[in-house]
Amino acid sequence: MNDVTTVISISLLLATVRKAVPLIFASTGGFFSERSGVINIGLEGMMLFGAFSGAIVAFFTHNAWLGVLGAAFIGGLIGSLHAFVTIGLRANQIISGVAINLLGTGATIFLCQVFIHGERSFSLGQGDRLPSLGPFIPLTYIAFILAIGAAIFSYYTVGGLRLRAVGEHPRAADTQGIKVNRIRFMGVVASGICAGLGGAYLPMFSGSFAKNMTAGQGFIALAALIFGKWNPIGALGASLLFGFADALQETLQGRAHLPAQALQVVPYVVTMVALAGVIGRSIPPGAIGKHYEREQPEI
């Protein structure tokens, strides 16, 4: 038991929050998309685009906030690609997500080598990074405000009700005069912006961009969204839990008999359990993955 008490400390709690920030951004992003009825397994790719564009803009302009804006913009752009393909062209949402993830790994390293002369990683100078505000960089506070804001938006405003309505029962929403596909489009773009910000956090915090630096965090964010039952506060809690598992795993390395991998595997296993409905089943939005068209197609 001594191990446990020495390990749980202020620094572990701070590390938990730092690990959770990118997950909070991306899972909130996933919330906007999936609650509107569009599956987004492209969060990983969108984060990677955000990480790269945030870092490269900050690198060249020496202005970290411009980097953050650039990441949000490029994230939104990739989000609108997903929206255009899946809503406008009625493409399969999963296939589009797979393509965006592949595009993320390919295009970011490709562009990195083009901009930084053959390098697959680069470092940011101290002036190119966000300054600390208290124990964290400002993006940390923004992540919490965003998640809580998303919760207030979706459960206490008309816009949020519409977002959930088009994801749950688009035909009913349509008969109420809600523009289903327009709201979905906005939801997916918002999702890209959030994921882009989550990606930007990584180089802003670590001070460098590296090949595939998201390392699956987009998928952990998706897991957090599902484990949090497709609800921003639930996703926030799940992100903190997964962040804690990650921070604990790093703290314990070499100090305990528990292998690091046992904690690394937690987000994935608990998500599968939640989805299978063994403990407190997660139920996806009613119309997720389904295209919406006003008239029945003639088949």
Binding site: G106, Q113, L222, M272
Partner: protein, 352 residues
């Protein structure tokens, strides 16, 4: 409709996707100030220009055939198995384990044992997602993604155990026994890593084609993919078909992992070389889930990979251009259903 006309119609969308991706690649290359024709000729010579390039192309194509089939058979049953990556890693680890630890002196027997065990490992891994989907309705896409990471992390744990780990900084196993090595096809090119796994992959494609189009079991899988409700009414076990389609796919991905270990790398290393599982998705989509189409497109993607490596070496264009091309092809194929007269086979979270 005439069969040839039908065939042409089926080839139209993949051809358009390829043409579109090539146009974009050409524009990118031109924007970077390189001559697209020069790049294309380097690409061609790097993939087909010599016996060495040809061997590289086929070597890259071998696992893609297997993972492509893995995705294709899942899709035939209406399920999207994007866990080929994890199933491959599980198979690769098991192959290395048995290849190093089991003392079998008969070469053929040892290889066969490793291949089958790796396949079973992959089949169980995919079967978990299949069972969760068929019995509980849990989305196979999410579960296969999660299982990918569970596979990466748990093999990373195992390979670091003293029982498996070769002493040193890198988490890798010892090399497999010579009796467990898949013979390389050195008659094509002396130093090639191309191995007899290629014939296993092509044989698998033939087998999957026979199963899907000539047996009642394959018919049932395709029925479930087209319309699970009607299949159930028609006394087809939807649960059984879904689980088996996933498991067969997982078996093939596991064999792909074994081929990488026994024929190419000789050991398991964590993280295991990445991308064949996801490459299989592109292959299956472009091949429209047809087993012979999978062989052809896998060779095409193998050529892109080996040509891309050559382009990376001799020009200023990074090899990741190939990944970008793949992504564009997938994106285009995703939209292709829009132009298609046929309804998509996949049913995503559609309640039955």
């Amino acid at each position: 409709m005439m069969p040839t006309q039908k065939l042409l119609e089926r080839l139209l969308a993949p051809a358009l996707a390829l043409a579109f991706a090539m146009v974009i690649a050409t524009v990118i290359v031109a924007l970077l100030g390189e001559d697209p024709f020069h790049i294309a000729s380097v690409m061609l010579s790097g993939s087909l220009g010599s016996l060495r390039s040809l061997a590289n192309t086929l070597e890259e194509a071998t696992p893609l055939i297997l993972t492509g089939l893995c995705v294709a058979i899942g899709m035939q049953s209406g399920l999207f198995n994007i866990g080929g990556e994890g199933q491959l890693v599980v198979g690769a680890f098991i192959a290395a384990w048995l290849g190093v630890k089991v003392p079998v002196s008969n070469a053929g027997l040892h290889v066969a044992l490793c291949l089958v065990a790796a396949g079973i490992g992959g089949a169980i891994w995919a079967g978990i997602a299949g069972i969760l989907r068929a019995k509980l309705g849990a989305h196979e896409v999410i579960n296969t993604i999660m299982l990918n990471y569970v596979a990466f992390i748990s093999t990373n744990y195992l390979v670091n155990l003293p029982y498996f780990k070769k002493p040193g900084q890198i988490p890798q196993t010892f090399d497999v026994a010579p009796s467990a090595e898949i013979p390389r096809l050195t008659f094509v090119y002396n130093y090639t890593r191309l191995n007899a796994g290629l014939f296993v992959a092509i044989g698998a494609a033939l087998l999957i084609w026979i199963v899907l189009s000539k047996t009642s079991f394959g018919f049932e899988i395709r029925c479930v993919g087209h319309n699970p409700v009607a299949s159930r009414v028609g006394a087809i076990s939807v649960v059984r078909s879904m689980i088996l389609a996933m498991s067969i796919g997982g078996f093939l991905a596991g064999v792909a992992g074994a081929e990488r270990v026994l024929g190419v790398h000789k050991h398991f290393v964590s993280p295991f070389p990445f991308g064949y599982g996801f490459g299989g998705i592109a292959v299956a989509l472009l091949a429209r889930n047809n087993p012979f189409g999978v062989v052809v497109t896998a060779i095409f993607f193998g050529a892109l990979a080996s040509g891309g490596a050559q382009v990376d070496m001799v020009t200023s264009i990074p090899r990741e251009l190939v990944t970008v091309i793949q992504a564009i092809i997938i994106l285009f194929i995703a939209c292709e259903y829009l132009f298609s007269r046929y309804r998509p086979r996949m049913r995503v979270l559609k309640d039955e």
